[in-house]
Subunit: 256 residues, 2 copies
Amino acid sequence: MNARGSLTVVGLGPGNPQWLTPAASAALAAASDLVGYRAYLDRVPATLGQQRHGFDNRSELDRARLALDMASQGRRVVIASGGDPGVFAMAAAVFEAVELGPPGWRRLDIRVEPGVTAVLAAAARVGAPLGNDFCAISLSDNLKPWTVIAQRLRAALAADFVIALYNPASAARPTRLAEALGIAAEMRRPDTPVIFARAVGRPDESVLVEDLAAARSAVADMATIIVIGATTTRRIARGGGIIPYVYTPRGIVTRC
Amino acid sequence: MNARGSLTVVGLGPGNPQWLTPAASAALAAASDLVGYRAYLDRVPATLGQQRHGFDNRSELDRARLALDMASQGRRVVIASGGDPGVFAMAAAVFEAVELGPPGWRRLDIRVEPGVTAVLAAAARVGAPLGNDFCAISLSDNLKPWTVIAQRLRAALAADFVIALYNPASAARPTRLAEALGIAAEMRRPDTPVIFARAVGRPDESVLVEDLAAARSAVADMATIIVIGATTTRRIARGGGIIPYVYTPRGIVTRC
């Protein structure tokens, strides 16, 4: 056990073990204590003698504080986080806990192990929709007001970013995605491609490409990433009932 | 050799082999032909009997067309791309070539293998600066006019996104980064943290955190990612000459 104690926040990637980096695998295997949302811990192979501390999908700050407390006792703690830990996942909660916590926590060896964040896997499934400037917005409004989310959406639409939406739906806010797509429909053409990518890399994966005009009624849950195309985003039909390729050209040049 | 032919665009991650996913490694090893920028090909372990086709850092469409042409001859082609292939890398060029190319290219088995894009590794090195809504903008203006880039920057600043800048500098446009940071300085506080992360994961890695007011004179090259904090982005001093942690809280709540 490291006398100083350490905490590593590890990105598990979007769910397929083939997308877990060797660095992340090594950090997970070397942990004395593994902390995380239970569904994430279930993805991690067992290591002899390793303690596991499962949590539900809320209580991120509690998870972070338990992990920091164990690290300050000299343990080698890993927090398992979905996708990339820095993108709408556990890393920000850890540093928030550090800032608000005892000064000793600042002297811990705290690291972040990056991972493939969900939108990259979602984009890869259909082509290259993020091929030009893009933004990522979390629709979760339990930590920020909806007015801020709506303002960011409008700004991103006006400046013609491709827009990735994380955390699109939950029981507490079932209408937020429809509201967001409604804002998009005010500012983008009805045939703008919208990608619904659910559970990419897992056995229950599903990927759809819809017209924006039809997208409001599509079903999304917290495992779904939505990508709204820019005005330059294009579809390439493939026929045979296969979903089209979707890509956003690197350049802004009129081509016919 | 697959009679149908295939093309996989593979993300190598930011440069450290420990960040290359097992899926990407497997695709690289299974290729009959490997196409890419020479510096990327140099990172890929040799596979017996594999043909390599190295290019310079321009000519993305030529690279894509060579790869598609070989795939259409039944070869199992892999394009090696930096970071994630869908983020300012080779995937968009491939689909652009498909759309403009012969109809037969649409029937090829074309896949994208996601990777850890550079900004995720850069963010991980300092904490969690992407902890809230963020955008990614390429400063490369050989494919889009500077007016578009400047408009996107202003929109992202006004809506308080964290902003990641890719491709910040080249011999052909040495002043673009200073211009971008100048726009940021009009709209963000002088002490806004700006991260300069160069060659993260490689032996020549360097990571700096600067105040926005001082950032304009910092040195950046095409291997550098810049992250401009949002108004909510915070620094946690650690002392001892170590760079501070930088994170953006998940919530928008006034805390003191």
